[in-house]
Symmetry: C2
Subunit: 137 residues, 2 copies
Amino acid sequence: MAAANRNTIQRKLVMNVVQNSLHPTAEYVYKTIKTDYPDISLGTVYRNLSLLSNRGDILKIPLPGSADRFDRDISLHYHAVCSECGAIDDVHGLDLGDIDMDASQNTGYTISGHTLIFTGICPECQAKISEQSLMEE
Amino acid sequence: MAAANRNTIQRKLVMNVVQNSLHPTAEYVYKTIKTDYPDISLGTVYRNLSLLSNRGDILKIPLPGSADRFDRDISLHYHAVCSECGAIDDVHGLDLGDIDMDASQNTGYTISGHTLIFTGICPECQAKISEQSLMEE
DNA sequence: CTATTATTGATATGAATTATCAATATATGA
DNA sequence: TCATATATTGATAATTCATATCAATAATAG
Ligand SMILES: [Zn+2]
Ligand SMILES: [Zn+2]
Ligand SMILES: [Zn+2]
Ligand SMILES: [Zn+2]
């Protein structure tokens, strides 16, 4: 009885694209599916990405100021965003200890989690930039 | 000569409201100014908040999924957001060590900074919730 | 004072996401 | 197998937050 989720083809397609991509946006998932399945609606993609991330099958990476990314890797890790090209890469092996507990004691909040995003310049863009400054001399 | 910023009354008003508020949104700053100075434009508030935070006079707190907050406290500290009521409070005294350097070594990025937001339930909302569950018995 | 131009108010535009709703398709179970 | 209940869909409107545009205005240096 318990109002179960249904296994629609659209849901499977969304899941597949996320599983075969690195940190895609909803837009990317939509366009990718659309080549093989042109009838898919953007709203459906958003709805399924929400459902799948709420369910814990995928991870939602909210980025302030730009479109959310989604992640097939649901293990604990963080992300770095390139301010030049928008690339996003994993930051693994970062141990922050019990910052949630620390924050809880500090504020009186019941902390359920945290969002941590690093901002910087990716190796590729660093290379481009140092090329440019050589040119300008 | 050097194209200087001008000290407009609008800019001073925006600065004043931020200095006298706790983590206001652009909308809040706008409405507050509007009571005494009805001609102010929302665009002007956004423009000045950007200028002031770029200049380092105030701090911009980007929140994924909701409106940015601004902070008169420009010292290093973090924030906790209540998922129930939207309240935002300071998290002081959190030592994360050299996470930027760690992230840099991990990814090859040149890290310029990071955004860290805690999510949870504020003390007030915790109280409301435990009241409710008492009622429901 | 005068000239330069940074800034303003008004408004349009944009990006990302959610809401609405009738039509459709999936799962359950008779 | 078939009928039923309803979760989900596609299409589209609406929302939210923020930036872009541009002629008019006002702040500052000289
Ligand atoms: Zn880059
Ligand atoms: Zn990742
Ligand atoms: Zn609260
Ligand atoms: Zn603060």
